[in-house]
């Protein structure tokens, strides 16, 4: 039996908005599911159904209101909902990657160094970090002259490739991706899907929010559908079913 890599138990997320008289909208309502190691899980659902909130809770960009997120790290299980900030930072450094929809680039850092940065933090030497970063950028179809350009001067699609490259290059054991391909044109999207699928072959567990059928068909082992913060479906991916069931 394969142990679950990630086990989410009764995870809820409510926002208490003090400026709105303490209104407390619910983003996730007692969500439970587990993901086996090496599984590619696609999160789907209408806009506002809680997909990004779920991903952000897993990365601890959002603070879960209640519930547990048991993650099996290299040296044992840890509850991501309760772990200390420093534990989370250590996991982000070596095990858990996250790709947002957009890159937030720092002004004076070259693309290749943006991608190499997580490797340096893992202790990889500068030369080999840059080399690996360059290879990944090329794989994602970013022309070589752009490797030493500033992301701030690039198009949205080019920036997003830098963003995806950074996460893939760090070789996380769990990768969280939030619509990583939505800012890409169709050719680049195919390359990104290719790179993600190689990661999957290497046994990386991926949990990702996707809108396009193409990406889900190419990558997903399982699909988890959210509606109003609750799971309405969690099953093996069936390409004959629509992504959103109702």
């Amino acid at each position: 039996m394969i142990e679950p890599h990630l086990e989410v138990r009764a995870l809820s997320k409510r926002f208490t908005m003090h400026m709105l008289g303490g209104a407390s909208p619910v983003a996730l309502d007692e969500v439970s599911f587990s993901v086996k190691r090496g599984t590619f899980l696609a999160i789907v659902g209408r806009s506002g159904s809680g997909k990004s909130s779920l991903l952000r809770c897993l990365y601890r960009r959002y603070l879960p209101t209640s519930g547990e997120i048991i993650y099996t790290a290299a040296d044992g299980p840890v509850d991501l909902a309760a772990a200390s900030d420093q534990e989370i930072l250590a996991l982000r450094r070596v095990e858990i990657g996250y790709v947002s929809q957009f890159l937030r680039a720092t002004p004076r850092v070259l693309a290749v160094d943006v991608v190499a940065a997580p490797l340096l933090r893992q202790g990889v030497g500068i030369e080999s970090a840059r080399e690996r970063a360059g290879e990944m950028l090329s794989r994602l179809g970013l022309a070589e002259p752009l490797h030493t350009a500033l992301p701030a001067t690039m198009s949205g699609g080019e920036q997003q490739r830098v963003n995806v490259a950074r996460a893939l290059c760090a070789r996380p054991r769990l990768l969280l991706v939030d619509e990583p391909t939505s800012a890409l044109d169709s050719e680049t999207r195919a390359r990104a899907i290719d790179a993600l699928s190689e990661l999957k072959d290497q046994g990386v567990t991926v949990v990702g929010v996707f809108h396009d059928q193409e990406a889900v068909d190419a990558l997903a082992d399982e699909v988890l559908e959210l509606e109003d913060g609750a799971i309405v479906r969690h099953a093996a991916h069936d390409p004959d079913l629509p992504l959103i069931s109702r």
Binding site: M19, R61, I88, R108
Partner: protein, 279 residues
């Protein structure tokens, strides 16, 4: 889980300005909406501030003006005495920094703590040459060889983008951005184990700010020194830090991962801060 080795561990740091009385702490803070004790008129500049910083970590302290951020920095740099609390530096095992005698404090400050102040007047002697300002710091850390001191000062100034040709000019004739970069060179001179940046870019033009923030990031990547960044500007905090404390009226109201504080602030005051920064 890899063990987290704190470089600095602060607990219960408190600083009062005034005579103090039994009711100072209970009558001040965010719930009381004041940092002034109604009973004795004391200002509780900061109270019960606790945090730690690991090797290579950058911790932010954010909050509006008067919330006590600089007082925390000032206590750690021995500019003002702490009224209560502890601070332990890993290079001085077993000792509470605040209980050291004057000579030991001066020594610790010279050897281990670098600070960049918001105003260059606080951190530099404006009429002494830029090189001299850095040299002074090296001398107080027992550097003796004049040639080596000059070489190190020149290198540091170059690293902070002050041309070597200008190291014999006084900061008084420098621009605001250059003065902050001289402060940075001075703060880094003796490879401190703790670096404190108190509003390092506040009051500078946006383009000058950006250049200094880039420089700080570069140096952080190279040197990896444990750093406290103090700012009222969430943009600076987002750029430079991974963890953040939010202060209001002398108290820490929220502490967390910087991206969590910005994306999912918990305390009413933090929500206000984040929302007003967005609009």
């Amino acid at each position: 889980m890899s063990a987290h080795r704190p470089v600095l561990k602060v607990s219960g740091l408190t600083r009062l300005f005034g005579p103090g009385c039994d009711a100072c702490l209970s009558s001040t803070g965010p719930e009381q909406e004041t940092n002034r004790c109604v009973h004795c008129g004391t200002t509780v500049a900061c109270a019960d501030v606790s945090f730690d910083i690991g090797e290579g970590e950058v911790l932010g302290i954010v909050g509006e003006s008067g919330s006590g951020k600089s007082t925390v920095a000032g206590c750690l740099a021995f500019d003002v005495p702490a009224s209560a609390g502890e601070a332990r530096l890993c290079t001085l095992p077993g000792a509470n920094m605040f209980e050291l005698d004057a000579a030991a404090r001066r020594r610790l400050r010279a050897m281990e703590i670098g600070i960049v102040y918001q105003t260059p007047q606080q951190g530099l002697r404006l009429d002494v040459t830029a090189g001299g300002n850095v040299a002074e710091r090296l001398l107080s850390a027992d550097w003796r060889h004049v040639g080596q001191i000059r070489e190190r000062a020149g290198n540091l100034l170059e690293r902070t983008e002050i041309p070597r040709a200008r190291m014999d000019e006084p900061p008084r004739i420098f621009s605001g951005g250059m003065r902050q970069r001289v402060q940075l060179a001075k703060a880094l001179a003796h490879k401190p184990s703790l670096l404190i940046l108190d509003e390092p870019t506040t009051g500078l033009d946006v383009s000058v700010q950006a250049r200094i923030l880039d420089l700080i990031q570069e140096i952080q990547r190279e040197a990896g020194v444990a750093t406290i960044v103090i700012s009222h500007d969430l943009g600076v905090i987002r750029l430079l830090t991974e963890r953040t404390l939010v202060m209001r009226l002398g108290r820490v109201v929220e502490a967390g991962l910087t991206d969590q504080i910005l994306d999912d602030p918990q305390h009413p005051y933090t929500q206000l801060l984040v929302n007003s920064a967005l609009t």
